[in-house]
């Protein structure tokens, strides 16, 4: 139990530190690199929550493809450090942070105070072969959503190619 607690607090500190550096770095490429580290840390948290397959998929999809795309776009444009990275105004900045904190507080309070309202019954355990059960659910109960996701990805891919071919885009026909 102690090892688990130490592991959780170590990863949580790692995550919070790098997420804070992500949003507060002036150079956008540094932000992208810190976000990659945040996602790798999140994969570690998922593994600790006994979602090993999702941890692997998170690393492959997010840290291995999406963030590579972000970093490639940033490096292609060679974006320098901006002089004023954050929006101006002390009052509006304070209000924004305050509203984000209030939202987090509401969500946490609701979750914490609602424990014990519904009678849960005996504590449930996760099955041993999570991947198999996950795939059975995905292909029987959520089959329609899965296929819809495939269609959506096709539409997104076609859309991205079209966006790059409009007049003034990167691959516009002259």
């Amino acid at each position: 139990m102690l090892m688990e607690a130490i592991g959780f607090y170590a990863i949580a500190l790692f995550l919070i530190f790098f997420a804070f550096k992500t949003i507060s770095s002036a150079n956008p490429i540094h932000c992208a690199c810190y976000l990659v580290l945040t996602m790798i840390g999140l994969a570690g948290v998922f593994y600790q929550l006994e979602a090993q397959f999702i941890a692997g998929v998170q690393m492959i999809v997010y840290a291995g493809a999406v963030m590579v795309l972000f970093v490639m776009v940033l490096m292609l444009f060679d974006i320098k450090t901006e002089l004023r990275a954050f929006s101006r105004g002390l009052i509006s900045g304070f209000l924004k942070i305050f509203s984000a904190a209030i939202l987090a507080g509401f969500a946490l309070g609701a979750a914490t105070n609602s424990i014990g309202i519904v009678d849960e019954g005996p504590p449930k355990v996760m099955s041993t072969n999570v991947t198999r059960d996950l795939s059975i659910l995905l292909y029987t109960k959520y089959l329609y959503a899965f296929e819809a996701l495939g269609v959506m990805l096709l539409v997104v891919a076609v859309g991205v190619v079209c966006v790059s071919r409009i007049k003034g885009g990167t691959h516009a026909k002259h």
Partner: protein, 108 residues
């Protein structure tokens, strides 16, 4: 002073706390940063925080539907990141400017 049990026994509340902190960081990034691509990164951070809370609930209730939802959220987030980056690239090519404050007025 609460007992040390609260800190040593890692339960659902700990993961939800972590998820709320990450979500608020993402929200602050979207509200306060001016660079379009950093705002997109804030959106990705928010989606990851939501994934974390789904998986925490899935473990707590022994219910695998939370993990299925994470699949879908991850896929949609990846697709949306692709589209957002394509649009950002087009905007940069035309206006040579990635500061969102200069796109606030509808013009031309």
């Amino acid at each position: 002073m609460p007992s040390t049990e609260v800190f040593l026994k890692i339960g659902l509340n700990h993961y939800l706390f972590l998820s709320a902190i990450l979500f608020s960081f993402g929200m602050i990034a979207v509200l306060m940063r001016k660079n379009v691509i950093v705002m997109l990164m804030g959106i990705e951070l928010m989606l990851n925080a939501v994934n974390l809370s789904f998986i925490a609930f899935a473990k707590e209730l022994g219910n695998l539907n939370g993990q299925i939802m994470v699949f879908f959220v991850m896929t949609i987030a990846a697709a949306e990141a692709g589209v957002g980056l394509a649009l950002a690239v087009s905007v940069y090519k035309k206006y040579k400017e990635l500061n969102i404050r200069s796109f606030e007025q509808l013009r031309g």
